[in-house]
């Protein structure tokens, strides 16, 4: 009957909602500087809701930490500070091969890399594939370790949003080798609080250049194409990245650009690509190629003609400067403001966000030159946000659900079985860096609520509550390679060996917060352990 105590917590939530909505008497004078909603310290109920909405659920320590902060402070910290992990989780992270320098990995295994060139027979090639795969697996696991154990979960939730906005499919060819580099590049850009920096970080990354085929795209009348033609090989334009830059990364479909703009942008970004160790420094220098990390701009592949893009004239022969200019034009375009505003609102407010809020966010985006924080303030200030927080109406995406189950069950014990997290989330369909198409994962209830999804969630919750899911620590395992067949069966069994988190009932109830009468009624005849399972599988806990 312990569960009945939650009534009190529900009342607290409503009280804090009232406080958010009602302006104190002195507010009239200072309303432009300090908004009582987003500049008032949060009580525990509000802090819990914020940790659910901008984060992956509360833990006892994160709840204490966020209580007393204002929503503005919480989100500002989420944007500009990174995460610190507890020592055990940090150790697990450092054991993954993500600490190696990406230049070194590329020199070994990238196109023309020395290890790749040496691998000629079938056995060596197979070995090479396994090595490559380790970097992919490591990037996905590292990402999940950080998300699950972060002391600044708002940061990881925002980073997840941007990684999904500029989505790459890490298993594609050499993206595997640079997937973690991509995560870090977007992480650094997020901390500058600038959309344009995020766009630039994504564009100038080897991961995006390879993923959307731009590294191969070559202007048909360029020096490289003419050279290839003499050798009987046709090189030409590939408009994949150009189209997705406009459609997905910036203006959005219906953002007013034309097929002509797509084709011209494809010409503008020719020459952008990735350095390969097979290239000779001398030739690169002579050609005037520009390198930044693994990104390479090679004028020999670039279209040197004049262009007109989004109504602006681009004089002939400006090279890399043209790309910067095009990225800037797209970053500050009003259609981009609208597109980014609606996506942020969909993720952090509701599936169909009210026009007024999106409009205010879009205006703030434009006025601030694309600052992420400025774009989020109108959302945090809106009465709709306060209401939706109190109601917990957003259906959790699989990553939200899995990580919040893990965090709630483990309290503040480190969650270091990254293999299990990755396998579960792959099964649920939302593993980071694994969305095949460049549109990223959906954010709406209709994208995720299905019978299979419910079966998986309930099975996970009941397994965790019964202590059958070793989130705390997995069995130290060799490489896992196979997706099917007898090995996969063995892998699955091995996945379930290890140490589960010890659930502390009262801590769990505190981080879960208030629950509905219907869930309380369903809990009446259950044992305490079963009640924990019900809590994690409850409709209340499936929303944020």
């Amino acid at each position: 009957m312990v569960i009945l105590r939650f009534c009190g917590a529900k009342r607290t939530a409503l009280r804090s909602l009232r406080r958010w909505l009602v302006l104190p008497f002195w507010a009239g004078a200072s309303v432009a500087l300090a908004q009582p909603g987003i500049d008032a310290p949060m009580d525990e109920a509000l802090a819990r809701n914020m940790l659910n909405r901008f984060g992956f659920g509360a833990t006892p320590a994160s709840l204490v930490q966020a209580t007393g902060m204002t929503p503005r402070q919480y989100v500002q910290r989420a944007i500009s500070a990174g995460s610190t992990l507890a020592p055990a989780a940090a150790d697990a992270l450092n054991r993954l091969p993500i600490t190696e320098s990406v230049d070194e990995v590329w020199n070994r295994l990238g196109p023309g890399g020395y290890e790749r060139t040496r691998a000629v027979d079938a056995q060596a090639k197979k070995q090479l594939q396994q090595t490559e795969r380790q970097y992919l697996v490591a990037a996905v696991q590292a990402r999940l370790l950080v998300m699950a154990n972060s002391d600044n979960p708002g940061h990881e939730a925002l980073l997840a949003f941007w990684l999904n906005h500029f989505s790459v499919f890490a298993p594609k060819s050499e993206v595997k080798l640079v997937a973690w580099d991509y995560v870090q590049a977007l992480d650094r850009a997020l901390r500058t609080d600038s959309f344009e920096e995020l766009l630039r970080a994504s564009f100038y990354s080897p991961a995006m250049q390879v993923y959307l085929d731009n590294a191969q795209s070559t202007a048909s009348d360029s020096a490289a194409a003419r050279l290839a033609a003499r050798r009987g090989k046709d090189l030409g334009i590939n408009e994949n990245l150009a189209r997705e830059l406009l459609e997905l990364h910036t203006l959005g479909v219906g953002g007013g650009y034309t097929q002509q703009d797509v084709q011209v942008l494809a010409r503008i970004i020719t020459g952008a690509g990735v350095y390969s160790p097979r290239m000779q420094e001398r030739n690169l220098a002579r050609a005037g190629a520009i390198r930044a990390g693994l990104f390479l701009f090679d004028p020999r592949r670039h279209d040197l003609g004049e262009k007109r893009f989004l109504g602006e004239f681009f004089p002939a022969g400006r090279g890399l400067g043209e790309i910067d200019r095009a990225l800037h034009l797209m970053a500050v375009h009003p259609a981009t403001a609208q597109h980014i505003a609606i996506k942020l609102a969909r993720r952090f407010l509701s599936d169909d966000p009210p026009k007024s809020v999106v409009e205010a966010m879009s205006t703030a985006f434009l006025a601030s030159g694309g600052r992420i924080s400025s774009t989020l303030w109108p959302l945090l200030q809106s009465p709709e946000f306060a209401l939706s927080l109190a109601q917990g109406s957003k259906f959790k995406e699989p990553a939200d659900y899995l990580l919040s189950v893990a965090r709630a069950a483990c309290g503040d014990q480190p969650i270091i079985n990254a293999r299990l997290l990755a396998a579960s989330l792959t099964d649920m369909g939302e593993a980071p860096l694994m969305h095949t198409t460049p549109d990223g994962y959906g954010m709406r209830e209709s994208d995720w609520l299905s019978p299979a999804a419910m079966a998986k969630r309930v099975r996970l919750a009941l397994g965790v509550a019964a202590g059958r899911v070793p989130l705390a620590r997995g069995e130290d395992a060799g490489p896992s390679n196979s997706q099917s067949g007898p090995d996969a069966e063995m892998d699955r069994r091995r996945l379930l060996q290890g140490t589960a988190c010890e659930i502390d009932g009262s801590a769990l109830r505190r981080v879960v917060g208030p629950i509905s009468d219907q869930t309380q009624a369903a809990a009446l005849t259950l044992s305490p352990r079963e009640q924990a399972g019900l809590l994690l599988a409850s409709p209340d806990f499936m929303r944020r």
């Binding site: 408009e239 219906g254 198409t437 609520l449 419910m454 079966a455 369903a522 259950l526």
Partner: protein, 392 residues
């Protein structure tokens, strides 16, 4: 006197008497058939899958991508088209008069965006936004007791928003197993009356059906030797078994990915088309002759691709594309609609194929034929569909 063409035009504009309208849509087919829609996400290059090898401009537009089909392709009768070696299954079905193809089919999409074009396809209204998909609306028009199934992980847009909720049966992954317990009962009761509860109840109900079908299908598969490498050919036998065991399932949907071939198209599509072809043949044999006759399979993608190959041995986003219609009872061995050739001025925006067959025309004709839906029902499923009526 009214010519047939005039009649069809009038009927489409809503002027014909309802009784005539009904007559026009009810074909000779029975109403207890089924329609399986296979949606290829990513934009299949239709010109590669079923290639106009007789077109004089082919070699110029596609110097590398046309080579193997010209040399080793299998001709589809006297149509001037051929299937590449990897897609020989299509030629086999075509020769058996069980497959027809529309080389210039598609939607009204003008964006060449995957996501917009897929939404257009799935909504079936001609709009890019909306709350119900065309298969959800079709499911609502089915005779009492008949239902629909989606062989996908989630409920796709095509099945969203209707009253007759489809079963969802992912054919890969870990299934739906939830052993009964006191705790599970409590979870069910906590979710009762909510959307999450409906989904949970359905998972529990579907589980038994799928599980039993899986067991039998494994044996079928084993007796046919090793299954193909791709997804579809691997699951086709299970899918057929589920449909055989549940003849009330009149509508089925599944989607396959991996058709966005901007680079190295030949290798990617050799795998993709091999899988699709093997899957169709498995479906046919696992359904058995009688069930195969009741079945219409429509295969389509959100758009076709550029007529000209790009600089990386691939193709970029285009407009009109390939639509396949297969089944034991279809009038196969023929082309549906026109093909205007690859001359530059025949192409859409000098870039890709025009759409000469609206996707809704084929789907509506199949639904009329196999599900016995009359034109009033079809107009509700596809509001704003064009006047074009196809004889399937």
């Amino acid at each position: 006197m009214l010519t047939r063409k005039q009649f069809l035009g009038w009927s489409a504009s809503g002027l014909a008497l309802p009784v005539l309208g009904a007559w026009a849509a009810e074909g000779p087919g029975s109403s207890d058939g089924r329609l399986i829609v296979v949606f290829l996400r990513g934009g299949l290059d239709g010109l590669f899958a079923v290639c106009p090898v007789s077109d004089p401009r082919l070699a110029e537009l596609r110097p590398t991508l046309s080579r193997s089909v010209v040399d080793e392709g299998i001709r589809l009768g006297g149509s001037g088209f051929a299937a590449p070696p990897a897609f020989k299954a299509a030629a086999e079905l075509y020769a058996a008069s069980e497959l027809a193809f529309a080389p210039c089919a598609g939607t009204t999409d003008a964006s060449r965006s995957h996501f917009q074009a897929q939404d257009l396809f799935e909504l079936g209204t001609g709009a890019t936004h909306g709350s119900t998909g065309f298969m959800a609306r079709a499911a609502d028009m089915l005779a009492r007791g008949r239902g629909a199934i989606s062989f996908t992980r989630e409920v796709p847009l095509v099945f969203q928003g209707g009253e007759n909720v489809p079963q969802v049966a992912p054919l890969s992954g870990s299934g739906l197993k939830l052993p009964p317990s006191r705790l599970l009962d409590a979870v069910r009761s906590a979710h009762r009356g909510q959307r999450t509860g409906d989904a949970l109840e359905q998972a529990i109900a579907t589980e038994a059906e799928i599980e039993s079908a899986m067991t039998t299908a494994m044996e079928v598969q084993a007796s046919r030797g090793a299954p193909g490498a791709g997804t579809f050919s691997r699951v086709a036998a299970t899918l057929a078994q589920v449909l055989r065991n549940n003849t009330r399932l009149a509508l089925a949907f599944l989607d396959l990915g991996g058709f966005d071939t901007h680079a190295n198209q030949e290798a990617v599509l050799t795998r993709g088309l091999g899988d699709l072809g093997a899957g169709l043949l498995t479906l046919k044999s696992a359904l058995g002759e009688r069930e195969w006759r009741r079945t219409r399979v429509v295969v389509m993608s959100e758009f076709g691709r550029t007529a000209r190959e790009n600089g990386t041995r691939g193709t970029d986003h285009g407009h009109g594309g390939l639509m396949l219609l297969a089944g034991g009872g279809v009038r196969g061995g023929r082309m549906i609609g026109d093909f205007a050739g690859l001359d530059e001025f025949r192409l859409n925006e000098r870039r890709d194929l025009p759409v000469l067959v609206d996707w809704r025309s084929v789907l509506a004709a199949c639904m009329g034929d196999a599900l016995g839906l009359n034109s009033t029902a079809l107009d509700r499923i596809f509001p704003g569909r064009p006047g074009q009526r196809l004889d399937i």
